[in-house]
C-alpha cells in the first residue's frame, strides 16, 4: 500500500486500528470467519448475536432487490441470532481475543429477561470481550420478549441495559431498531440504563418482493413468508438520518455512536464519520463481496484524508453535523439555474422529458439539432441535472435572486461525479 495515513481511533475507550468493524451477523459467526476478517484488515468485529436462546432458522432466508439490472440494491434476511451453542460462541470469542489481541472483539448479546442479560454479560467478561453490544433491534425474532419489540419499549431498554452495566465494567453499546419514529427515545433510555454508546441501525422491517408463483413474499418458505429485516445500500439514507438525529439530540450529544447501514465503500463510511459517528459497521456488503472490501475502505479513506490534508479521523469527524438543519432554516431567496454544456450534450432528450413531465416545462427541445434550451419557466430544481447521463453536461449555473430578496454570498456545490 503506497499511501499510509493514521486510521486509528479511540472508540469507547478502546484503541481501534481503524473504524471499520463487522456488524453482528453471520459475517462474524465463528472462529475461522472472524480470524479471516481480522487478517483482511477489519479493525474489529461485533460477533454474531449470542443469546441463551439458540435460533432455529428457516430455509431459504434471504432475498434481494434490484433495479435496472443492478442486483443487491437492498437485501432481506429472515435470520435470528446465532444458531450455535452459547458456550461455543463465547469460547470462539475468547480464542479470537487471545490470538488477535490488537483487534477489537465486541460481543453482541440478546436476552429475554433480566437474568439472561446478566448471565450473558458475565460470559462476555469471562471471554475477555472489549465491548458488549445489546441487540434491542432484531425485527424477526420468534419471541416478542427479544429484539425490536424490546427496542421500541424504553422501560425494557433501560432495564436490560442496567442489567448489563451493573454486571460488568465493559462498555455497553445499545443497538437500535429503525422501526420506530423517534430513535432518540430508546437511545436515551439505554444511556439512562448505563450504556456508553449507541449503534444504529439494525435492519428495516420489509417485504422485498412478492413471488407470483406461490403468491407469497420472498423468500418463500413452504409457501409462506414473513416481514423481516432489510439492509444494504438501499437503507443507507435511513441510517444516516438516524445517526444525525441521535447525534444532534441534546441528551445524546456526548454519546459515541457507531453507524451501521448500507456501507460498502470508504465514501459511505466517511459519510457516517463526518456526521459524527466514531465507528462504522458492515454486514450486507461483506455478504455480497467478502471481507476484502475493507482494503479499499482503508486505502480510499487514506486518499480522502490525503487529498483534504487530514492527518487523523478526528480532523473531520462531525464536520457535516452542524450543516444538517431543519427545513425551515434553509435559505430560500435564490434559484440556481442549470447550465447546459452544448458540446457535451449527446441529445438524448432526457432532461426535456423529465422537466416537462416531472418539473416545470422549462426546457424547449430543438428537434433538428436535438438540443435542450432553457426558457423562463425554470425554478432551479435541478431535476434535469440529476437525469442527464453525461457527466459535467448540466451543471449549476446562474444564480437568480427572487424578487425583493437580499443578495448574499452563498455556497454552491459545483462538482458532481
Amino acid at each position: 500500500m503506497s499511501i499510509n495515513k493514521d486510521l486509528s481511533i479511540r472508540y469507547l475507550g478502546i484503541d481501534c486500528e481503524n473504524p471499520f468493524f463487522l456488524s453482528s451477523s453471520p459475517v462474524g459467526g465463528n472462529y475461522e470467519m472472524v480470524a479471516k476478517a481480522y487478517e483482511a484488515g477489519w479493525g474489529g468485529v461485533f460477533y454474531k448475536t449470542v443469546g441463551v436462546f439458540v435460533a432455529d432458522e428457516c430455509s431459504p432466508r434471504f432475498d434481494q432487490t434490484s433495479k435496472e439490472g443492478l442486483p443487491w440494491l437492498g437485501f432481506k434476511n429472515m435470520e435470528q441470532i446465532s444458531d450455535k451453542p452459547t458456550e461455543q460462541n463465547f469460547e470462539n470469542m475468547m480464542k479470537l481475543k487471545r490470538d488477535y489481541p490488537d483487534k477489537v472483539m465486541a460481543a453482541t448479546i440478546m436476552g429475554s429477561s433480566d437474568e439472561e442479560w446478566r448471565a450473558l454479560a458475565k460470559m462476555c467478561e469471562q471471554a475477555g470481550a472489549d465491548l458488549i453490544e445489546g441487540n434491542f433491534s432484531c425485527p424477526q425474532m420468534t419471541s416478542h420478549a427479544m429484539g425490536a419489540d424490546v427496542g421500541t419499549n424504553p422501560e425494557l431498554v433501560t432495564a436490560y441495559s442496567r442489567a448489563v452495566t451493573e454486571t460488568t465494567k465493559i462498555p455497553f453499546v445499545a443497538k437500535m431498531t429503525p422501526n420506530i419514529t423517534n430513535m432518540e427515545i430508546p437511545a436515551v433510555a439505554a444511556i439512562k440504563g448505563g450504556a456508553a454508546g449507541v449503534s444504529a441501525i439494525n435492519t428495516v422491517k420489509s417485504i422485498t418482493n412478492i413471488d407470483f408463483e406461490n403468491m407469497a413474499g420472498m423468500p418463500v418458505v413452504d409457501g409462506k413468508s414473513s416481514i423481516s429485516g432489510y439492509s444494504g445500500a438501499a437503507v443507507k439514507p435511513i441510517a444516516l438520518r438516524f445517526a444525525a438525529q441521535l447525534l444532534q439530540h441534546e441528551e445524546l450529544k456526548d454519546v459515541e455512536i457507531s453507524g451501521i447501514g448500507g456501507i460498502e465503500t470508504w465514501r459511505d463510511a466517511a459519510e457516517f464519520l463526518v456526521l459524527g459517528c466514531r465507528n462504522v459497521q458492515v454486514t450486507t456488503a461483506v455478504m455480497q463481496y467478502g471481507y476484502r472490501i475493507v482494503e479499499d475502505m482503508k486505502s480510499g479513506m487514506m486518499h480522502f484524508m490525503d487529498e483534504r490534508g487530514y492527518s487523523k479521523l478526528e480532523d473531520f469527524i462531525g464536520l457535516a453535523l452542524p450543516n444538517m438543519i431543519p427545513a425551515e432554516g434553509l435559505n430560500r431567496d435564490f434559484q440556481i439555474l442549470p447550465d447546459f454544456n452544448v458540446k457535451k450534450c449527446i441529445g438524448c432528450g432526457r432532461c426535456y422529458v423529465s422537466c416537462y413531465d416531472g418539473a416545470h416545462q422549462a426546457i424547449d427541445w430543438d428537434e433538428k439539432k436535438r438540443k435542450p434550451k432553457l426558457n423562463d419557466n425554470c425554478v432551479g430544481c435541478h431535476l434535469c441535472l440529476n437525469v442527464c447521463p453525461v457527466q459535467g453536461c448540466i451543471t449549476p449555473g446562474e444564480v437568480k435572486w427572487k424578487e425583493g430578496r437580499q443578495k448574499t454570498g452563498i455556497k454552491i456545490k459545483r462538482n458532481y461525479d
Binding site: E68, G69, I346, G347, C348, R350, Y352, R370
Partner: protein, 427 residues
C-alpha cells in the same frame, strides 16, 4: 501463437442475452426522447420502444412491438447491419458505445418462443382479393404478412422446398440458425398465408393464367455470376449462391476439397469462406480485387473470418483457372499491373455479386438493362397489378430493406385493390 477459434458449421457465432444481461444492457439505454435509433430502422422496428419494455420488465410487450413492426424480427436481430442503422444512430455513441440493439432484439424475440406467444392475428373476416407472392424470401414474406393481416388471401409460390430465400439457402447458419428463420416464417403461415413449395413460377406454373387480383414478385437474384475467364467451367468452380445452397442443404456431406479460394469483398464472400472453413477445409482464403477500405463487406465480418483463421488478400483479380477437368490452380493478376499469383486450389467460389435469372418469365413486366425488375419506391411495376421488391428490384441489398420493400408494396397492393373495388368482405 494466434488463437484461432474452432467452431462447428451450425454452432452460433455469438452468445445471446439472458434475462439478467438483457436487463443490464437495457439499463445502459438512455431511453431517449424521440429516439434516434427508432428512426434508423428501414423496416420500422421501434428499438426505443422495445428496449423500454425490457427495461420496465415487460419482455412480452417488447416481443409484440418487434413482431408487429417487422415480421422478420428474429432474423433481422441476427443479420441486420445494425452498425450502419439503429446502432449507428444511437445517442449512447456520444458517451461510449451504442446499445446492443440487435442482441436485445434477439432476446425479445426469443421471449416470444419461450412464452409460446401468438402475437399476430389475421382478421376472421377475409377480403375478396387474392394475391400471389412469388418467392418466399424476406420481401415476399413481409408483403404476404401485411396483406394477410389486412384480411387478403395470399398464396406464396416458392421454387425451393423451404421458406426464407437467402436466409435459408444463403446466409451462413452460424450467423442465422435455421430455427430462427423457420420461426419467423411460421408467423407468416399462422396468418393463414398459403405456401406452395417446389413451384417455380414461369417454369412450373403460369401466373398469367391464374385469377389473382394482384401479384408481388420477390424473386431475388438467383443467377450465379461467374467471370468470363478461361477455365470457368471446370469442376470445383462455384458461384456463391450454389456453394452456399449446397452447404445449407447437404451440410457436412458437401465435399468440395481442402484448399478453397473465395473471390469477393462483401459479406457473401465472408459467408462462403466461413462456410468452407467450418465444413472442414484447412486452407481457406479470401481474395479481393480492391483494398479492404473499398470492400463493401462489414469489417466485423472480416474480423470474424480472421478469428477463424481465414486471411484476406487484396488487390488481386482472377485471370485464369487451370486444370484438366477439375480445378488445380487459380491465377490472379495484381491491380498494379505488376504483381501476380498462382494458387493451388481444390475449389474456387465467386462471390462477386448475384445476377437475376430471367425474371420476365414470371410476368412480362419491364426489366432494366441488368435484368432487374423496374419498380418505383412503392413497388409498382410496368404492369398495373404486378408489384415487386427486394433484391430483384434493388440489385441486392439487405434483409431489412427487402422487408421494407415488401411492406411498402403491400400498402400499394391494398390501395390498388381497394381502388379496383375488390374490397368487399367475404365469409
Amino acid at each position: 501463437m494466434s488463437k484461432v477459434t474452432k467452431a462447428k458449421y451450425t454452432s452460433e457465432a455469438s452468445f445471446g442475452f439472458m434475462h439478467r444481461t438483457a436487463m443490464e444492457e437495457a439499463a445502459r439505454c438512455l431511453l431517449c426522447y424521440d429516439a434516434p435509433c427508432s428512426k434508423g430502422c428501414p423496416a420500422g422496428t421501434d428499438p426505443a420502444k422495445f428496449i423500454r419494455s425490457i427495461r420496465f420488465r415487460n419482455p412480452k410487450g417488447a416481443a409484440e412491438t418487434i413482431r408487429e413492426n417487422n415480421i422478420l424480427g428474429g432474423t433481422c436481430a441476427r443479420v441486420c447491419p445494425t452498425g450502419d442503422l439503429c446502432e449507428e444512430a444511437c445517442s449512447r455513441c456520444g458517451i461510449d458505445r451504442p446499445i446492443e440493439i440487435g442482441k436485445l432484439q434477439r432476446y425479445a424475440v426469443e421471449q416470444e418462443k419461450t412464452f409460446k406467444m401468438k402475437i399476430l392475428k389475421a382478421p376472421a373476416k377475409k377480403k375478396a382479393g387474392k394475391v400471389a407472392c412469388v418467392g418466399a424470401g424476406p420481401a415476399s414474406l413481409a408483403c404476404a404478412a401485411e396483406l394477410a393481416k389486412t384480411g387478403y388471401r395470399v398464396t406464396v409460390f416458392e421454387k425451393e422446398k423451404k421458406a426464407g430465400g437467402m436466409l435459408t439457402y444463403g446466409i451462413a447458419p452460424g450467423r442465422l440458425p435455421q430455427a430462427v428463420v423457420d420461426h419467423d416464417a411460421a408467423q407468416v403461415k399462422s396468418l393463414g398465408v398459403k405456401f406452395e413449395f417446389g413451384k417455380k413460377v414461369g417454369d412450373d406454373i403460369d401466373l398469367t393464367e391464374m385469377d389473382f387480383d394482384a401479384v408481388f414478385i420477390g424473386a431475388g437474384l438467383w443467377g450465379g455470376n461467374l467471370p468470363d475467364i478461361p477455365g470457368n467451367s471446370l469442376a470445383g468452380v462455384y458461384t456463391a449462391v450454389d456453394f452456399l445452397k449446397n452447404a445449407r442443404t447437404m451440410k457436412e456431406a458437401f465435399k468440395f476439397g481442402n484448399k478453397v479460394v473465395v473471390v469477393g469483398g462483401g459479406d457473401v464472400a465472408v459467408d462462403c469462406a466461413v462456410t468452407a472453413k467450418l465444413l472442414g477445409a484447412d486452407d481457406v482464403r479470401i481474395v479481393y480485387r480492391r483494398t479492404l477500405e473499398e470492400a463493401p463487406g462489414n469489417m466485423s465480418e472480416f474480423q470474424y473470418a480472421l478469428s477463424l483463421g481465414i486471411g484476406t488478400t487484396t488487390n488481386m483479380a482472377p485471370a485464369e483457372l487451370l486444370g484438366e477437368s477439375k480445378l488445380e490452380y487459380a491465377v490472379f493478376n495484381g491491380r498494379d499491373g505488376k504483381s501476380g499469383m498462382k494458387i493451388s486450389a481444390d475449389a474456387i467460389v465467386f462471390a462477386t455479386g448475384q445476377k437475376a435469372e430471367d425474371l420476365s418469365k414470371i410476368m412480362p413486366m419491364a426489366l432494366n438493362e441488368k435484368g432487374w425488375i423496374k419498380a418505383d419506391a412503392a413497388g409498382k411495376t410496368s404492369i398495373e397489378k404486378v408489384f415487386a421488391g427486394g433484391d430483384a428490384v434493388n440489385g441486392g441489398g439487405t434483409v431489412v430493406e427487402a422487408v421494407r420493400a415488401g411492406k411498402d408494396a403491400a400498402a400499394s397492393i391494398i390501395a390498388y385493390l381497394e381502388k379496383r373495388g375488390v374490397k368487399q368482405d367475404v365469409n
